[in-house]
Subunit: 263 residues, 2 copies
């Protein structure tokens, strides 16, 4: 089975020009099929402030009213996505910028029935694996902004971590998928105070022990729960690493960061 | 030879929600291969004003300094493009939003050596007809924002009329191409005061007569010059019509508007 990397890059990395440049070189150099999913929350918050649009977050999730939807559509779909695509093209990577609306690649629906009204937030209903397969087999590298649309043509703000994990599981029948979360830290840290304490390998069993022992920080738990859910749906491995470590992935094995597998 | 429509929709139409809705229904209903190129200048000017970015125009062309490039990247590539794509998808049209950077579809370079410094304005160097052919033959409908990039990954603001005409000529070896400019008027008017005076058919010879007789308005001349240049490069026909008249194109023959052919 051919390998596919689905790589999520967070807003903090994107916000740092030097880190982004380094990351994009690593990403472009990665051999084989790949998909990039990016955030952009920090840039959206800044642009919202410039436009007098208030940013409201509940439990780390953005409340997306109509003015905020306009901001994220501009920043994620335009500013961040098109700059990443142009820079990847200059690095020789045949990137194509997408949202879930483009090519009908990801269908979502407005989040309803939660205790908090998140506004125009989209929960993913279905991935069109067939069209993604066609784009990938044409040699294109999809670069996803965290936006989707419902079947009425309404754009929706969508969590980038979730988008990456849903794309990875949807493509698991066609490829040996590695789902990679790139962020500022070197991996899942055994000691949050020690940046060099990344745990190299966590199985599902070990994850239970780490949670029980209080080793895994609260903010990390939803990420890891998502990761193990993806593994249960046939994703081959999940890697959590620093954006700069991407170059070490070329062989398909992470030389740094934390590797998660079921067993 | 299969037919292909390359349709340009202007910023004035896009700015009118009802006109856009009507246009998108007509566009979605159009049978066969098609490409949409959109503007968005009015929305960009409004967003620039909200951000305190000054809009400067010289002879109808926007001066694109870095703050304005940020605005047009957000508005053309994000706000306008993604909303059009999502709405077309809801109409059953398998739209995919692109800039020239995406899939390396259009390479441009920064405009240099002109009397006026237009800033980050891009002149098109080359269209990648092969990748567009692949997307079209996959059943996708490219929706182009008027943005391109150079080979260094620098995004550039690009004239949408020109982009439409360059796409039409690049695809003329593969399809029988109709290039359609949709705007507010019913076509090229014999009498600018009379909206019902659209001239049904203009050949190259007749165009010379109309220019000599002062019938064609000054603003229309660059558009028509471009149109005849496209015809000389094997585009089958150019149609200038009202956005709402698109439904009448299904048979490949404009039932209203002005049709331009070489002879």
């Amino acid at each position: 089975m051919e390998k596919l990397f689905v790589i999520k890059i967070g807003g903090n990395v994107i916000d740092d020009a030097a880190a982004t440049g380094h990351f994009l070189k690593g990403f472009a150099a990665l051999a084989g099929r790949k998909i990039l999913v990016h955030g952009g929350g920090k840039a959206a918050t800044r642009m919202a402030a410039r436009l007098g649009v208030q940013t409201q977050m509940v439990e780390g999730r953005r409340i997306t009213d109509l003015p905020m939807l306009e901001v994220v559509t501009m920043v994620y779909g335009g500013l961040v996505n098109k700059n990443l695509v142009a820079r990847l093209q200059a690095e020789g990577c045949n990137a194509i910028g997408l949202t879930g609306a483009d090519a009908g690649s990801i269908l979502a629906r407005k989040r309803e029935g939660w205790a908090v009204d998140y506004g125009y937030a989209g929960d993913i209903v279905r991935v069109n694996g067939e069209i993604l397969l066609k784009l990938l087999e044409t040699g294109l590298v999809p670069v996803f902004a965290p936006l989707t649309a419902d079947d009425q043509g309404q754009l929706l703000n969508t969590n980038a971590d979730t988008m990456a994990s849903v794309l990875a599981t949807a493509l698991a029948p066609f490829y040996e998928v590695s789902l990679v979360y790139c962020f500022e830290k070197k991996g899942v840290l055994a000691d949050p105070e020690d940046d060099e304490s990344a745990i190299p390998h966590i199985t599902h069993g070990k994850y239970g022990e780490l949670k029980a022992g209080g080793v895994v920080s609260k903010g990390m738990i939803p990420k890891l729960d998502n990761a193990f859910a993806a593994l249960e749906q046939k994703v081959a491995q999940v890697i959590i690493c620093q954006a700069g470590a991407l170059g070490t992935l070329s062989s398909g094995i992470a030389l740094s960061g934390t590797r998660l597998t079921l067993s």
